[in-house]
Amino acid sequence: MPVIAVDHLHKSYGNVRAVDGVSFEVSPGEIFGMVGPNGAGKTTAIECLEGLRRPDEGRLSVLGLDPQRQGYELRSRIGVQLQESSLPDRLKVREAMGLFAAFYFRSADSAALLEQLGLAEKAGAAFGQLSGGQKQRLFIALALINDPEIVFLDELTTGLDPQARRAMWDLVKSVRERGKTVFLTTHYMEEAEQLCDRVAVIDHGKIVALDTPQNLIAKLDAESRIVFSVDGPVDMDLYRAIPGVTRVERSGDRVIIFGRGDGLLVRVVMALDSAKTRFRDLRTEQPGLEDVFLALTGKEMRE
């Protein structure tokens, strides 16, 4: 029994088809991600699910409820982090938690939530004094205050530095471990890859692919790359002869080996070793969702 079911969702603003016939289902306990560039229609879709926007067409069911007609009931059972929202600057963190807790019939332990989100020390700080990451964490705490069944996170880590972003990912995983379903949108492919059980790749309001990140990448059958630097002469033919290698590129002392299959890295390193080649700065580049997006839409994701 899916917790979210979307059937041919359409939503236009004037002549712009923001969401153009999207269908999918989300199972309980999964982290489901909608990925795509800015303006692909992700926020419109998530806001239709939250009941904030009225769809032009299509059927939506969230926890068996219609977000438009049964919004009041739905809002008590979901937690929402909006892409664009704020709190009064002079409202303190502790007050915000107490206030939002009072809006719901059941509420989680707000002190424990602040502790878990690393905001315990900031409980007495005003919202306006928080950093971007702290504000974002507070919004997550507020989204969890009613112990919701589904948590909606819209562009959770936009504007955060890489370290804060990783901390946020751990947080989302811990939310799921508590048995909640997570529906998120992101334009960071790496984020979707790290976090999501399944992703819907969306472009121009349409879903162009929907699967686990691993399957999407495997289906792409893209080459992985092994990059390193060498000093002195390089025998290109030696590398070309390694099983699985499809092509070799060289520029200056940098060598890039393209290839497929498990064990490619081991074979390349062994070949380098037996040829007594001195190499440094070796790294591998695996194909990711970024490559999937490029292959599906013919364009690069920005950022």
């Binding site: 809002r75 929202s85 007050e95």
Partner: protein, 247 residues
């Protein structure tokens, strides 16, 4: 209900943390009273029908407090909360829209009443101000005037596209009203020509009503004020509900 009470309490705390709002609501009119009281004292004066300057000023300044909350406090805070996405976030909770508005209005009402309280305390303790009216009657008049102007304040917030515009509209509307309504300067000092203009300013009716009730006049003598302010309240409510936006 729990959410409503809590929100009202939080709104009041936020109001008091805003220095400008607190100053104009709580401190400004007592300061004005001290200033004019020092200059003119509170001796009975035939110019004010045998009452003193302070006896007449206190009920008039109530209108001053009402206008500053209604036209400067409410439009700016409401539009700013809308602009920043605060209202949007509230909308994602099971808080009913009506509960939000009611708690908002209640917190402004209480802050306005607190301003009146401060004014009365200064008038009473410093100048031995006379009060000849009926407490409940004055309270009812104060409530009618407050709610009528609050409705106009929400209307400004709804019509203005940004908080800056709401602020500008509120100020531009408030200042002429303050001076021409008799709330800051007694109407008695104006020539007839100015008073003819004053009659068309809604705030003048709050001043007239408050001064009358304060002096012990009955509501029967203030049917005009009752009708005007009742009309402003009803039309203001309809229009502000019509123009209210969550985002």
């Amino acid at each position: 209900m729990r959410g409503l009470r809590k929100l009202m309490w939080v709104e009041m705390k936020l109001f008091l943390r805003e220095p400008a709002a607190t100053f104009f609501t709580i401190a400004f009119s007592p300061m004005l009273l001290l200033l004019f009281g020092t200059i003119y004292g509170n001796k009975p004066n035939p110019f004010f029908g045998g009452r003193g300057m302070v006896d007449v000023s206190v009920p008039s300044y109530i209108a001053l407090i009402i206008i500053s909350v209604s036209f400067m406090g409410i439009p700016i805070a409401t539009a700013a909360n809308r602009e920043a996405g605060v209202l949007r976030r509230f909308r994602m909770t099971p808080l009913r829209p009506a509960a939000y508005i009611i708690s908002n209005i209640a917190s402004y009402y209480i802050m306005t009443a607190a301003g009146v309280g401060a004014l009365v305390i200064v008038g009473k303790t410093v100048y031995g101000m006379k009060f000849q009216g009926n407490f409940f009657s004055v309270w009812a008049g104060f409530t009618l005037g407050s709610l009528a102007f609050f409705a106009l304040g929400y209307l400004i917030a709804g019509v203005a596209s940004t908080a800056r515009i709401a602020q500008a509209v509120g100020m531009v509307a408030a200042f002429p009203m303050m001076f021409l309504s008799g709330s800051a300067i007694p109407l008695e000092v104006f020539p007839q020509s100015v008073r003819n203009v004053s009659r068309f300013i809604p705030l003048t009716h709050v001043v007239t009503l408050m001064r009358g009730l304060w002096a012990g006049e009955s509501w029967a003598r203030h049917v005009t004020e009752l009708a005007v302010l009742g009309g402003v309240l009803i039309i203001g409510m309809i229009l502000s509900a019509r123009f209210f936006r969550w985002e």
